[in-house]
């Protein structure tokens, strides 16, 4: 039982579990914070970005000025943005049997793994996870492919050169393994390896292990996973939420009785209250628009945006924003809005009931119908003719490095009337804004992260009582910026076992039992006897069959009678198989009764002597001596098999067999 940790990012995990005879990858998260080191990809040629000065070393050496550009004191790589992949060297990924996906944010590295490591297994995920995950990948690929960039910088990655660079480039990890985005073809091929599963579906792996997804309450179709055999259970908790938003509530009860609970995907903003943030989002949005400014909301095309639109739906009229256009721009905007309406079974109870009426579960259907919300695949085309200001624009990518958001940052950044509101918690907003400095527009940080906070975690752990907790090292100490907040870490007994990128962790399992089936015919032949009140024993002699990791006990074959017993056989034919096991014996022999039994069976001339530990029974006529002690009996006799067997049977009558 080992866990190989391939990602250091606590909310974008990628772990490989060796569990019994299976190798299971848990999630396939892609760390996209690496793109913050790159210059934004503008949709329309941006004179400001293209005129940024090249960066040169302190000694004036400018050999890197083609690759590195400087903007307001920060240095950026001028190249196609690259992502930080999970570790691929720690374990041979072609040996991975299955990949379990917990939510659509945690599958973004899937094409890198399934297409380039020799992986031949199956991926399991829920239908909403796959559909929305596909949308996220499609958007990503689209954002990057529609602005082809000739330059692919690699010089700066040289270890000797990287050392000379300013932070954060200097400290970026594993830059040599950073990769460019995959293609749509790779995405399709990766997704074709996914098998759809439903909550609480029990999936058998090779007869040895059973995996089950459980609702985790964080996103449409998001799941936690139970990985168990008959006697061992691992719960994998990744991206769970106890707040009531749109998804089905979290299933906590099924996590009970775990030997090990792997805990990842907690909130990235433990100090912020999501409800408060939504309120702040609405009021800042209203304020800006009322003053004639535009609002830019960098976001993913699915997830929190549904909740934001629902809040705005209730807020618009009361805030007097009925005439303000809301634009949602993404190559997958339409699909995302449509898909959200068809996953009734994966939604919270309230939304399910609406579908029964039948009404669309999300009110954004009405916003679209009344023309308050309009969606476009990109800012080219219809959008440019419909575009009215002031307005509110939801668009990606939240890293501000690619997507239509880059254009709006350039367009609106110079005016202090406009506001950009950050709601996605995955990227530091200051780093995201760095290549746009100096900036006149207002920046509001309202990160909405509905995942578990530390108070909820400690309550959850008390509730489900796992024997051991395993988590990323970040969760075992307070966040670096708030080192005094001892409440912002996991507190449990025994202390959580922590892991970091590229580490292998031995999981604390004490395996003692395995399941085996006793065939009915064999079961019928067993003779149980009650040893103690409520406890019965039966000795079992059976043939063990093992197939497909399943063990079955069958009745022993009948002894074959040697044909024509009189025939003389060669001595070697008679050599008994010493592996035929005889039962163990237990009990003690009461001497007086034993002597009586001997007499009854025709032995005479019996003498009994007491010894320090027991007795010696002498059968003088037969020249036989029987030593009887508390827990042993020794029969010493002449080589007379008949006699020996008779004595043996008498002794056995007083003993229990096991």
């Amino acid at each position: 039982f080992f866990q190989y940790c391939l990602s250091g990012h606590p909310t974008l995990p990628c772990n490989v579990l060796k569990f019994k005879s299976t190798t299971i990858m848990l999630d396939c998260g892609l760390d996209m914070t690496s793109t913050l080191n790159f210059l934004p990809l503008p949709l329309v040629q941006s004179p400001r970005l293209s005129n940024l000065p090249g960066w040169s070393l302190k000694d004036g050496n400018a050999f890197l000025d083609k690759e590195l550009k400087e903007c307001s004191g920060h240095v950026f790589v001028d190249s196609v943005p690259e992502f930080c992949l999970p570790e691929t060297e720690l374990i041979d990924l072609s040996t991975v049997d299955v990949i379990l996906i917990s939510n659509y944010h945690c599958m973004m590295a899937l094409p890198y793994i399934t297409e380039h490591t020799g992986f031949t297994g199956t991926v399991y995920a829920t239908e909403p996870t796959v559909q929305i995950g596909r949308l996220l990948m499609e958007e990503l690929v689209n954002f990057i492919e529609r602005v082809p960039k000739a330059q692919s910088a690699s010089l700066w990655k040289n270890k000797d050169i990287q050392r000379l660079l300013p932070s954060p480039l200097k400290d970026a990890v594993e830059v040599s393994t950073w990769r460019r985005c995959y293609t749509m073809q790779e995405v399709n091929s990766a997704l074709s390896k996914i098998q759809l599963v439903g909550y609480s579906q029990k999936i058998e792996l090779f007869g040895a292990v059973q995996v089950t997804p459980l609702s985790s309450g964080y996103a449409l179709g998001s799941s936690n996973w139970i990985i168990q055999s008959h006697y061992e259970k691992v719960s994998y908790v990744s991206g769970s939420s106890l707040l009531t938003t749109h998804p089905q509530p979290m299933d906590q009860a099924s996590l009970k009785n775990s030997d090990v609970l792997v805990l990842t995907g907690l909130t990235q903003i433990p100090t912020a209250n999501p409800d408060g943030m939504v309120g702040e989002f609405c009021s800042n949005l209203a304020l800006t628009v009322r003053n004639g400014g535009n609002v830019l909301v960098p976001c993913y095309p699915s997830g929190v945006i549904y909740d934001l639109l629902e809040c705005l739906y209730q807020y618009i009229d009361s805030a007097g924003l009925s005439n303000i256009p809301f634009y949602f721009i993404s190559p997958v905007a339409n699909s995302s809005l449509e898909f959200s309406q068809i996953f009734a079974e994966w939604l919270c109870h309230n939304k399910q009931t609406k579908v029964y009426l039948p009404e669309p579960p999300f009110p954004h259907a009405e916003l679209i119908q009344t023309n308050k919300l309009k969606h476009y695949p990109s800012l080219h085309g219809d959008f440019s003719s419909d575009f009215r200001q002031p307005c509110v624009v939801f668009t990606g990518h939240p890293s501000l490095r690619f997507g239509d958001v880059v254009h709006f940052m350039e367009l609106w950044g110079k005016s202090s009337l406009n506001t950009v509101i950050f709601t996605e918690p995955d990227f530091s907003y200051l780093e995201a804004l760095a290549p746009y400095q100096p900036l006149a527009m207002k920046c509001i940080y309202c990160p909405i992260d509905t995942r578990l906070n530390f108070i909820q975690v400690s309550k959850l752990l008390k509730e489900v009582q796992p024997l051991h907790v395993v988590c990323p090292e970040q969760y075992t100490q307070p966040p670096p910026a708030q080192s005094h907040r001892m409440d912002l870490m996991i507190d449990c007994q025994p202390p959580a076992m922590s892991y970091r990128r590229a580490e292998v962790l031995a999981l604390p399992f004490k395996r003692r039992y395995e399941k085996i089936e006793i065939m009915p015919e064999l079961a019928d032949s067993l003779v149980p006897m009650e040893i103690k009140p409520g406890i019965s024993l039966a000795t079992v002699s059976a043939v063990l069959h093992t197939k497909d990791n399943k063990h079955v006990l069958q009745p022993p074959p009948r002894p074959i009678q040697p044909a024509g017993g009189k025939k003389r056989k060669r001595a070697s034919d008679d050599i008994p198989d010493c592996k035929v096991l005889k039962p163990l014996l237990s009990g003690s022999i009461p001497v007086e009764q034993f002597v009586q039994a001997l007499e009854k069976h025709g032995f005479s001339d019996i003498k009994v002597e007491d010894t320090a530990k027991g007795h010696i029974v002498l059968l003088q006529e037969a020249e036989t001596l029987i030593q009887i002690e508390e827990d042993s009996t020794h029969i010493i006799c002449d080589n007379d098999e008949m006699l020996r067997v008779r004595l043996r049977d008498l002794v056995l009558k007083f003993l229990q067999k096991f």
Binding site: V197, G198, Y199, S200, Q201, N334, S335, Q341, I342, F343, A344, E345, V355, Y356, P358, P360, P361, Y513, E514, K515, I516, E517, I518, P520, A523, I531, I535, L537, T539, V540, S541, V543, L544, H551, P557, A571, S572, D574, I575, P576, C578, K579, V580, L581, K582, P583, L585, S586, E630, D631, S632, H634, I635, C637, N639, D640, R644, V651, L655, F658
Partner: protein, 597 residues
């Protein structure tokens, strides 16, 4: 496992099956018979109630899909007879079932004025007892009973259910179809090897011609009727086949650029289509893939029907409910149009006995209507088997998929079932049953018993299994400890230790007299080389102290107290090595070969 059956036997009227498995009682479907207007309409629950309350007797109720012959008696059952336990169905069934029930209630009570029928409130109260299940979700009804739903096609949300207690299981198919149609996918089940498969057998003998042919046929008939200026009535149920035929006509009208109006009766249409839109994940692959670009359930050519339209001149096509012409709008329109031979009625599904639909399909052309009126049917009557049931081939296919030990046929007609029964028994060599209404079938099962085996014992055995001489079946020896319902198989040593018992060692030592004048040490050496040559497969050792061991059996040579020409071999072994020990003594008794030294 005895499934007994208050409802569906050899008749397609209604489904209601009671299954007892591993001490649990599960009711499968709760349908009503549409051919009856009296008490016979609902299943007879007195079979159960005479033994006490339904809630105490039944562990759960499962509804396979929203057709009334599968769920129509549900409010009667839960609210009027009285059942408060869980009722399981899929999400779409839960959404649509109350609407159809209400629809049916209105026809029965408001139009026909029937008394003693369930009320709207009862439908609502009944639906509160429903627990929705996902496909493939394992629902733990209680500690022992679990159920799992599989996709069945047939209608939106239709499911097959696996019911499992311990290692015993039953699969109930409800209605299903094994070929995907224009809006639904095909039923699928994994190789779950149930003890019993209960399958519908509506089309037990038909092997239907290809779907394409039937569709072409249908379109041709509709087209011809419209061309000659006739009116076409297609009686349908609001949800299900109607959507498939609408898609079919819609695309045909578009392709052929036809102008004759198509109407869909009742206000349910739009609502019904909306359900299909919201539950699009339950439709077939193609519709699901394209729904973002084009929703197949938004029709351009098909408009809502108004009663007044029936008298409009000129051709038209009308979809009207209900599907068996037993009441409501379809029957009204039928009466209006029946007299004109230019018109046509197409029955796209099965009609139960007693309905007008069934009468005209069986060739009756003079119908006695309410008030002794006689209606003469001159219009063309066509039957198209569009209802999505598995045909004989499909049923065989499903049996092949699930690999059951026994098959039980329900929801079909006796003669046809007999034919299928023989086919199944021939091809799969499994028992096949076809009980009548109220009849009980009992199946013995012999489940194997799962126990926990200590890893030490198992590993010891597995390791020995790898030895080269392990061709003979080897015996595993252990002790089964049974405490409450916890069964564990451990090594005998461990069992003794756990119970705090000491092992009792039984040891034998036999004296074997051997004629040998040589020294004891030499005798021992001779014994050693002799045994070594005989017992090739055993571990024979000569220890430094002069004794010889064979496995754990100890042999020592000693001088005879009286006869110097004789040596005494002391052979000593424990009870566990008895076979070998006793063999060795008899071997040594025969003496040692002389040539050795």
């Amino acid at each position: 496992i005895p499934p007994s059956r208050p409802g569906a036997g050899q008749d397609v009227g209604r489904s209601c099956i009671l299954v007892s498995i591993g001490g649990k009682n599960v009711m499968l479907d709760c349908g009503m018979h549409m051919g009856f207007n009296d008490d016979r309409r609902f299943p007879d629950f007195s079979y159960i109630t005479r033994n006490g309350r339904l809630t105490d007797f039944l562990d759960c109720v499962i509804i396979s899909h929203f057709h009334l012959d599968h769920c129509g008696a549900l409010p009667y059952f839960s609210e009027m007879v009285g059942y408060d336990g869980p009722i399981y169905m899929t999400h779409p069934t839960q959404a649509i079932c109350p609407i159809l029930l209400e629809d049916y209630r209105k026809i029965a009570v408001d139009k026909k004025g029937e008394a003693n029928f369930f009320t709207s409130q009862m439908i609502k109260d009944c639906m509160k007892k429903v627990v929705a299940v996902h496909l493939h979700q394992t629902v733990q009804v209680d500690d022992e009973l679990e159920i799992k739903a599989y996709y069945a096609g047939h209608v939106l949300g239709a499911a097959m259910f696996q019911i499992k207690v311990g290692s015993e299981s039953v699969v109930y198919t409800g209605d299903y179809n094994m070929t995907p149609d224009r809006h639904l996918g095909a039923a699928w089940i994994d190789k779950c090897r149930p003890n019993l498969l209960i399958t519908e057998s509506t089309y037990a003998t038909t092997i239907r011609d290809s779907k394409r042919c039937r569709e072409r046929d249908f379109l041709k008939k509709v087209h011809e009727a419209v061309e000659r200026g006739g009116k076409v009535l297609i009686p349908v149920f609001a949800l299900g086949r109607a959507q498939e035929l609408c898609i079919l006509l819609e695309t045909f009208w578009e392709r052929m650029n036809l102008k004759a109006p198509i109407y869909f009766s009742t206000g349910l249409t739009e609502k019904a289509n909306h359900y299909y839109k919201l539950f699009i994940t339950w439709t077939n692959q193609k519709i699901r893939k394209t729904f973002v670009q084009r929703n197949m359930f938004e029709f351009k050519h098909i408009k809502a029907f108004d009663r007044a339209f029936a008298d409009n001149p000129g051709p038209m096509v009308v979809f009207a409910t209900p599907g068996m012409l037993h009441a409501g709008q379809s029957l009204q329109i039928f009466r209006k149009w029946a007299g004109n031979e230019k018109n046509m009625v197409i029955m796209p599904g099965y009609c139960v006995q007693g309905t007008v639909g069934h009468k005209i399909l069986s060739g009756q052309r003079k119908l006695e209507m309410e008030g002794r009126q006689v209606l003469e049917v001159k219009m063309q009557v066509e039957y198209m088997s569009f209802s999505a049931h598995a045909d004989a081939k499909g049923i065989m296919q499903l049996v092949g998929q699930a690999e059951p030990e026994n098959v039980l046929l329900v929801h079909g007609e006796a003669k046809k079932m007999e034919f299928l029964k023989q086919k199944i028994e021939q091809e799969f060599r499994v028992n096949c049953y076809m009980p009548a209404n109220g009849e009980t079938v009992t199946l013995p099962t012999s489940p194997s018993i799962p126990v926990g085996i200590s890893l030490g014992l198992l590993k010891r055995e597995m390791a020995q299994g790898l030895l080269p001489d392990a061709k003979k079946p080897r015996l595993l020896h252990g002790t089964l400890i049974m405490k409450d319902s916890n069964f564990r198989l451990v090594s005998s040593e461990q069992a003794l230790k756990e119970l705090g018992l000491a092992e009792h060692q039984l040891r034998f030592t036999c004296r074997v007299h051997l004629h040998d004048p040589r020294k004891e040490q030499e005798t021992a050496l001779r014994v050693y080389s002799h045994l070594k040559s005989v017992l090739k497969d055993h571990c024979v050792q000569h220890l430094p102290d002069g004794s010889v061991t064979v496995e754990s059996i100890l042999i020592q040579a000693a001088a005879h107290s009286e006869d110097p020409g004789t040596k005494v071999l002391l052979v000593s072994w424990t009870y566990q090595d008895e076979e070998l020990g006793s063999y060795l003594t008899s071997l040594l008794k025969k003496g040692l070969p002389q040539a050795a030294s």
